[in-house]
């Protein structure tokens, strides 16, 4: 399609920034995996919690953030920068922006590596970094976006290849997710409260958390697969049509699946069901990506024997298929009741992170290094060794976690012969999975060993060559051959009309009151039939429209944004905009007293949520073990929510008043004294430090701003209240021959723990309750008219 008369000019690609990102990814890969192996070992050997800044609770966020943002982030940027320049036949948009992007991102990583072990945390998974770093991330991401879209703007290739579709989806969606989930009001330079609380926070967090997996760990890597796999295999992509269908269904459906992290919790039923069914519907679109990867190799399977790059890519795509089959399975509420909070989820995540991301990264780097340094790979046998030890490492890891998760889940559900009590204590189940947690360390260690072998191999490769920037003679694209589509052509056409119309009817089915809902469903079916008929008659014009869309990056980006924004809007707006009184069910939590609030912030900063949930699910074994199931209102003032996602220790939703203060004291000083063979880190350091009195008034002021109905109190009053409460606890301790200073962090966190689960019946408090975030329309909540959602 390129004009033959066009002038050719030599263009030098910016491969330097690709090399930089690649090396950063390799190095941070080592860091992330080392941290992983270390914290996995801590689970069996509590002695490895060597210092307060090396406890599991503080290092686990370091591991996850390093793996996601430092390792995969840098790998993604390397792949995107390399392939985008070639697919657009031009140099990256702007060299300064490329530089700012690279160095800014590395600075962010360094800042994260310093702040997380110091216990500076927002207390939400993969969103732990404190607000100044959040702003830096958003700014650097925008720099990346501007640089990328500048490249698209000046491209010399009129049509956008499928890899670029995925990059576009990644850039706009991550920006949206990251910004919304990090909206906060600062209370100091290092601390802030997120604007959402309780269920709203839970919903937004997992809309973000799940789609961090989707749009940070999946879509950019699929784009990388679409470029580098056919390149390495030297075969055509299996199916262009599959690319279209799986891309659009993937980006549209993925956003809806977040609530599957909150199944069987107090989350409103309609959201749970949407999360579950959209996850199931997501199975096929995910496998579309796998098929296009695997089947591209048809006719070139022999390369699997000889080319390590192909080995890594194919294994990665296979792990992707495995993980995306497991994901929908785990999203089924019945399966989830067993698997959630257990190691099964950990195994699932790592078959994605190690198998899909880790092996895609390895394949990419083995392919890139010889090209970027103009040389040959130093050693194929070493790469093969890496492949095999990595594969066995992942399998060992994943299988150990399957067994561990299922076994612990079943043990936790076992009841005594008369069916009236739990058969196993939590500690019993922990002892049972210890050998499997050991195997996990070995599996992870094998993967790390393979990675280090890769480092040596690539180091030798790099040493044997010199940095090389590719220069190509490129025909300059003449103006007017692309990017000519107007608003009308973008939005007024058959494919879009039928899609939007059908979706509106489907939403009517979900949201309309009983009676009208079924009518809307019937209309949707009829409309869908009409759409199929229309498509059969005019499929050529549909295909032509799409071809044209591919020549127009802005309309394409706008439509992608529309596709990804819908799910979030529909799930989140009803929950965050209604008067929060509607979100409380029959109970509302008692406000934290100043000392308890100080304790809560310590709980968050120590990362207790990494091992303890605060959510008793609507499941009989949960209720038998931990008490009455949690109501929405019982965490409505929690900024951030602390429902948790993993129970390495027991649930704490009703911990308040279940044990003596002195038990908590002994347990914090040395967990093994009260819970023999526990693997919890000791928190004796909390005894030495005074809790933060200075910022308490500011914190309470911010919470008031966010709708938590604290009475007006001045700063002295708040500090005095906190101190008096501390003195009371310390005085009580004296009787048990325990001497603590009344203003220490340990006293504060015990006060907080003893508060957990205290509530008022809702009738008494409704009038005092704050309003939701103002919104012009009053949204419909489907649960209001459905018996399946009745809670009491």
């Amino acid at each position: 399609m390129t004009s033959t008369s066009a002038t050719k000019v030599p263009i030098e690609f910016n491969d330097k920034v690709v090399r930089q990102f690649m090396l950063a990814s390799i190095i941070f890969g080592v860091v992330a995996m080392l941290a992983g192996v270390f914290i996995a070992s801590q689970l069996n050997f509590h002695q490895l919690n060597l210092a307060e800044w090396l406890t599991f609770g503080r290092l686990r966020p370091l591991h996850t953030n390093a793996a996601i943002f430092a390792f995969v982030g840098n790998m993604m940027f390397a792949g995107v920068y390399y392939s985008t320049q070639r697919l657009c036949k031009c140099r990256m948009g702007n060299d300064t922006l490329s530089n700012i992007h690279f160095w800014g991102w590395q600075l962010i990583i360094v800042a994260a590596a310093i702040t997380l072990p110091l216990g500076l945390s927002r207390g939400k998974e993969y969103a732990e970094l404190i607000w100044p770093i959040n702003i830096a991330v958003a700014v650097i991401w925008v720099v990346f976006a501007v640089n990328f879209f500048l490249t698209l703007h000046k491209r010399n290739e009129p049509s956008l290849y499928v890899a670029l579709w995925f990059y576009i989806a990644t850039i706009i969606t991550v920006a949206m997710l990251y910004i919304v989930n990090h909206l906060s009001i600062p209370t100091s330079w290092t601390h802030s409260y997120g604007i959402f609380g309780g269920v709203q926070d839970g919903l937004v967090q997992w809309w973000y958390g799940h789609n961090a997996v989707a749009f940070f760990l999946t879509t950019p890597i699929l784009g990388i697969m679409y470029y580098f796999l056919p390149k390495a295999a030297e075969r055509p992509v299996y199916s262009y049509r599959l690319s279209i269908v799986h891309f659009w269904s993937l980006v549209f459906l993925y956003i809806w699946a977040g609530p599957h992290h909150l199944l069987n919790t107090a989350l409103p039923k309609w959201l749970q069901l949407l999360g579950m069914f959209f996850s199931l519907m997501l199975w096929a679109p995910s496998w579309g990506g796998m098929l296009n990867g695997l089947l591209t190799l048809r006719g070139a399977w022999d390369k699997l024997r000889t080319d390590p790059v192909i080995k890594f890519f194919i294994a990665a795509v296979t792990f992707y298929g495995m993980a995306t089959f497991e994901g929908p399975l785990l999203s089924i509420r019945a399966v989830n009741s067993l698997s959630h909070y257990s190691d099964w989820t950990i195994g699932h995540v790592h078959s994605g992170a190690l198998g899909w991301n880790g092996f895609m990264a390895a394949g990419l780097f083995y392919w890139l290094a010889p090209r970027l340094w103009n040389t040959r790979l130093y050693s194929v046998p070493m790469a093969n060794f890496h492949f095999w030890i990595g594969t066995f490492g992942i399998l060992l890891y994943v299988v150990a976690m399957w067994i561990s998760g299922i076994m612990q889940g079943l043990m936790l559900n076992q009841v005594t012969a008369d069916g009236l009590a739990m058969k196993n204590t939590f500690l019993d189940t922990l002892q049972a999975i210890r050998p499997l947690m050991g195997l996990r360390v070995i599996g992870g260690g094998m993967f790390l060993l393979g990675w280090i072998v890769m480092c040596i191999n690539l180091w030798k490769t790099i040493r044997s060559g010199t940095p090389y920037n590719e220069v190509r003679e490129i025909a300059v694209l003449q103006r007017g051959t692309a990017d000519t589509m107007g608003m009308k052509e973008t939005f007024i056409n058959d494919p879009l009309t039928y899609t939007v119309g059908g979706l509106l009817l489907v939403f009517g089915w979900i949201f309309l009151p009983p009676g009208a809902d079924i009518a809307s469903l019937i209309c949707a079916c009829i409309f869908g039939y009409m759409a199929v008929r229309r498509f059969q008659q005019t499929s050529k014009s549909w295909a032509f429209w799409y071809e044209k869309l591919l020549h127009n990056y802005l309309p394409f980006t706008v439509l992608t944004f529309v596709a990804v924004v819908i799910g979030g809007l529909i799930q989140i707006i009803p929950t965050v905009t209604v008067n929060s009184a509607k979100n409380v069910e029959d109970r509302i939590q008692k406000l934290y007293e100043p000392l308890e609030l100080a304790g809560r912030d310590i709980y968050v900063s120590e990362g207790c949520y990494n091992c303890h949930s605060q959510m008793i699910r609507t499941l009989v074994p949960d209720v038998m073990r931990y008490g009455d199931y949690s109501r929405l209102g019982e965490s409505i003032y929690d900024h951030p929510f602390q429902w948790g996602s993993k129970r390495t220790g027991p649930d704490l939703a009703r911990e308040g008043g279940a044990r003596p203060d002195s038990w908590h004291y002994e347990h914090m000083m040395d967990p093994r004294s009260m819970s023999p063979q526990s693997n919890m880190p000791p928190y004796a350091h909390l005894k030495e430090k005074p809790f933060d009195q200075k910022t308490l008034p500011k914190k309470i002021a911010v919470l008031r701003q966010l709708g938590v109905p604290y009475p007006p109190m001045d700063a002295t009053e708040i500090k005095m209240k906190a101190l008096e409460a501390g003195v009371k606890i310390a005085e009580e301790f004296k009787k048990s021959n325990i001497v603590v200073r009344p203003d220490c962090e340990l006293v504060a966190i015990i006060a907080y723990l003893q508060k957990l689960g205290q509530f008022d019946p809702v009738e008494e408090i409704l009038s005092k309750n704050g309003q939701g975030i103002p919104f012009p329309l009053s949204p419909v909540i489907p649960d209001e008219a459905r018996s399946a959602a009745v809670t009491h």
């Binding site: 055509p236 262009y240 049509r241 599959l242 009590a421 869908g528 499929s539 050529k540 018996s787």
Partner: protein, 220 residues
């Protein structure tokens, strides 16, 4: 959501356009793949309509409420059989004692606070629990009173013993109580601690008097 159906032939044709050397087949979608997508959609619709909209099946909380109610009935029935006399009898049954001792001595359970000798001491140091081998009982010393405190915990749990019924169940609690009773004699004198809650001990004591210096001082 794009019902993109194949148009004509089965032969995969290559698309004209080449992207940096990468070509694409213009090939129809695998049928089995399409069916997994369709089945998932149909499954969604059916479930939503029948379970959620038409209300077939029970809500999660209804299931729990029913299960818990049934358990309460069974528990009450078990409780009916527990009397002072029965517990003293159990304290003389070696099989019950063995079971009770095993539970008592399980790490993390009774032994953690009350010690292996039941004297609330470990190597000369005082443990959080009260001694169980003397005749002073803070919350009442009849077998059913002891039974109650093991089941439900002390009146103010933040200052005393935790509730064990959820963890152990009625049967094991009764065995443990029998084991404790085996260190005592039926009819021996029972004294109250100076800081015992007034009459019956059932009412929640706001805070124990703060002056106790006796060996049986408040639970640590």
């Amino acid at each position: 959501m794009d019902p993109n159906k194949p148009t004509s032939s089965n032969e995969p044709t290559l698309r004209d356009h080449v992207y940096d050397g990468i070509q694409e087949y213009d090939q129809k979608l695998p049928n089995w793949w399409l069916f997994t997508l369709y089945i998932a959609i149909v499954w969604f619709v059916l479930n939503w309509v029948f379970y959620y909209q038409l209300g077939f099946g029970s809500s999660d909380t209804a299931v729990i409420d029913q299960a818990m109610a049934e358990m309460q009935v069974a528990r009450d029935k078990q409780m009916e059989t527990i009397t002072d006399k029965k517990l003293w009898e159990m304290s003389r049954d070696p099989a019950v004692l063995a079971a009770g001792k095993a539970t008592f001595m399980t790490p993390g359970m009774c032994v953690t606070c009350h010690g292996t000798e039941l004297n609330g001491m470990l190597a000369g140091a005082k443990l959080p629990g009260l001694p169980l081998d003397d005749q002073q009982w803070k919350y009442g010393g009849t077998p059913t009173e002891i039974f109650k405190i093991v089941r439900k915990g002390s009146p103010d749990i933040t200052k005393g013993m935790a509730a064990w019924e959820i963890v152990l169940g009625v049967k094991k609690v009764s065995e443990v109580v029998a084991y404790v009773l085996s260190h005592h004699h039926e009819g021996e004198p029972i004294t109250k601690a100076p800081d015992s809650p007034p009459a019956g001990g059932a009412a929640v004591a706001p805070a124990a008097p703060a002056t106790s210096t006796t060996p049986a001082s408040p639970v640590k």
